[in-house]
């Protein structure tokens, strides 16, 4: 009996060793902002079909990912929802220097799942004919900050304070509207955009002049060839096409910044 236990223990240890070795050789661990979850999954799938690597995606809020990475979270790559957090990681020496790129530029829309609820010029906001407007938290979520700037440039930020509900991130703001708890929401265009189908409901694309462009940046955290390959892959044409299909603007070479 004892021998059996020893033997199975040895086998188990060996298997674990093998598994962790494989993970080391093949897996690329990616922390990505929740707003890009859909395009990121397709990009990762395409990358995986071209190579022998596996991409492990962890979606979450950029602020929480930043805190986790600062405290040693084992990610190879970070796809943030803004430029601030990757910049900081680079300045703090946590990220690999000069690997930071802008991989996508997001757009803000005012959306309702109901047809004809949102007019083509967003007048519903100024008329404030709604009970709740959902936005992402402007304190830390990039799309929330953009929503605040847009409402400020419409000069209604102070007036409609009592009608604003804040999601922790733009995914939650979307969820408040999609479940009907809030009638309208200022969210990411990529959330309502369907690659091969008509977008449901009614929406108004907030003019870019009303808010600072939402430049989403990525940065390399561990200098491993596979991770570098994946980062490079996200600025290749196949990946750019996926991002565009999901409603992101893709930076031209010049915007992409340090490479």
């Amino acid at each position: 009996m004892r021998e059996f236990i020893y033997r199975s223990a040895t086998v188990t240890v060996a298997l674990f060793g093998l598994a962790s070795f494989q993970a080391d050789a093949l897996d690329i661990r990616v922390a990505a902002a929740s707003n890009i979850s859909r395009p990121m999954k397709s990009i990762a799938a395409q990358f995986e079909s071209n190579t022998s690597h596996k991409v492990l995606l962890s979606f979450g809020s950029t602020g929480m990912h930043y805190a986790q990475i600062r405290n040693g979270a084992p990610f190879d790559l970070f796809f943030a929802a803004d430029e601030e957090r990757p910049e900081r990681l680079e300045a703090e020496g946590v990220a690999v220097p000069s690997t930071r790129i802008t991989y996508a530029i997001g757009h803000l829309v005012l959306w309702s799942p109901e047809k004809d609820r949102v007019d083509s010029e967003g007048r519903i906001l100024v008329q404030s004919s709604f009970e709740w407007l959902a936005i992402a938290n402007p304190k830390h979520a990039p799309y929330g900050r953009a929503a605040r700037e847009a409402l400020e440039s419409l000069e209604i930020w102070d007036v409609i304070q009592r009608q604003i509900v804040r999601g922790e991130n733009v995914a939650q703001a979307y969820q408040f509207v999609a479940t009907g708890n809030a009638e309208i929401g200022l969210i990411a265009y990529s959330q309502i955009r369907r690659a091969n189908a008509e977008t449901a409901g009614s929406w108004w694309r907030v003019p870019q002049s009303m808010y600072t462009p939402i430049r989403q940046q990525a940065v390399l955290l561990k200098d491993r060839p596979a991770a570098r390959d994946f980062l490079r892959f996200t600025s290749r044409n196949e990946a750019k096409k996926i991002l565009r299909d999901f409603g992101y603007e893709v930076p031209t070479e010049r915007d992409a910044g340090g490479k």
């Binding site: 602020g63 009970e131 304190k139 830390h140 979520a141 999601g167 922790e168 969820q175 708890n181």
Partner: protein, 227 residues
């Protein structure tokens, strides 16, 4: 020391915990009483349902509440037909969520206390012609006072510690649904670690101070019974 919106979050949190505990004591007393005394076969099912919030992720409760409170959900739909306001993103909505979330923390100590009181004191009181309500208030409640203290403190403290449910149905409205746990999360997200430390430290001290008397009293109680 605390910023204005942190103070308001503290106030909202305490108010939420207070209202929730009060409602839970009112609802939990008859429920725990029934569970402690019944021989009905359904008891095991009710026991399991009451304990569900102990094991379910708060996100499950929050997710279904969000759907239920929405205009297409049963509670939200009912509210709308009655001409009332929707409950999502309101203090009342949070109270509903917290009552569900903290239910076992109030019902279980009460149930244990009622069970340990046993049947005999009631049978004796009944022979002295005490009515059922009289028996309940003059015998059950005083004998179960330790259970009540534990239930109150655990219900209150557990509601203060609530995060997932509020995150899902709260909407983060200052003075309404912006509670301490959410404020801490926001500070961490916004890289304001100093303010996050302040609130987190405060919560640790508060929670410890609430739990300490319960355990101290329970110890005295148990030792008293032994001697």
């Amino acid at each position: 020391m605390l910023a204005e919106n942190d103070l308001s979050a503290l106030g909202t949190t305490l108010r939420l915990a207070f209202v929730t505990t009060l409602i839970l004591l009112l609802l939990g007393t008859p429920l725990a009483w029934w569970l402690a005394r019944t021989r009905n076969r359904c008891k095991v099912v009710v026991d399991a349902v009451v304990s569900l919030p102990l094991v379910l992720p708060p996100t499950v409760i929050g997710f279904y509440l969000l759907l239920a409170l929405g205009p297409r959900g049963p509670i939200g739909g009912l509210m709308e037909r009655l001409g009332g306001q929707s409950l999502a993103f309101t203090f009342a909505g949070l109270v509903i969520g917290s009552v569900v979330y903290s239910l076992p923390f109030v019902v279980q100590p009460l149930q244990d206390a009622f069970t340990s009181v046993g049947r005999r004191p009631f049978e004796e009181a009944a022979t002295l012609r005490a009515g059922p309500l009289d028996r309940f208030f003059t015998i059950a409640v005083p004998l179960a006072r330790h259970g009540y203290l534990t239930a109150m403190v655990l219900g209150f403290a557990h509601t203060i510690g609530e995060f997932g449910v509020v995150l899902m149905i709260g909407g983060n409205i200052p003075g309404e649904t912006h509670v301490l746990s959410i404020a801490i999360y926001d500070h961490v997200e916004a890289l304001e670690y100093g303010r996050a430390h302040l609130l987190s430290g405060l919560l640790i001290v508060l929670s410890f101070l609430m739990l300490l008397p319960v355990y101290a009293l329970n110890r005295r109680y148990r030792m008293g019974r032994v001697s």
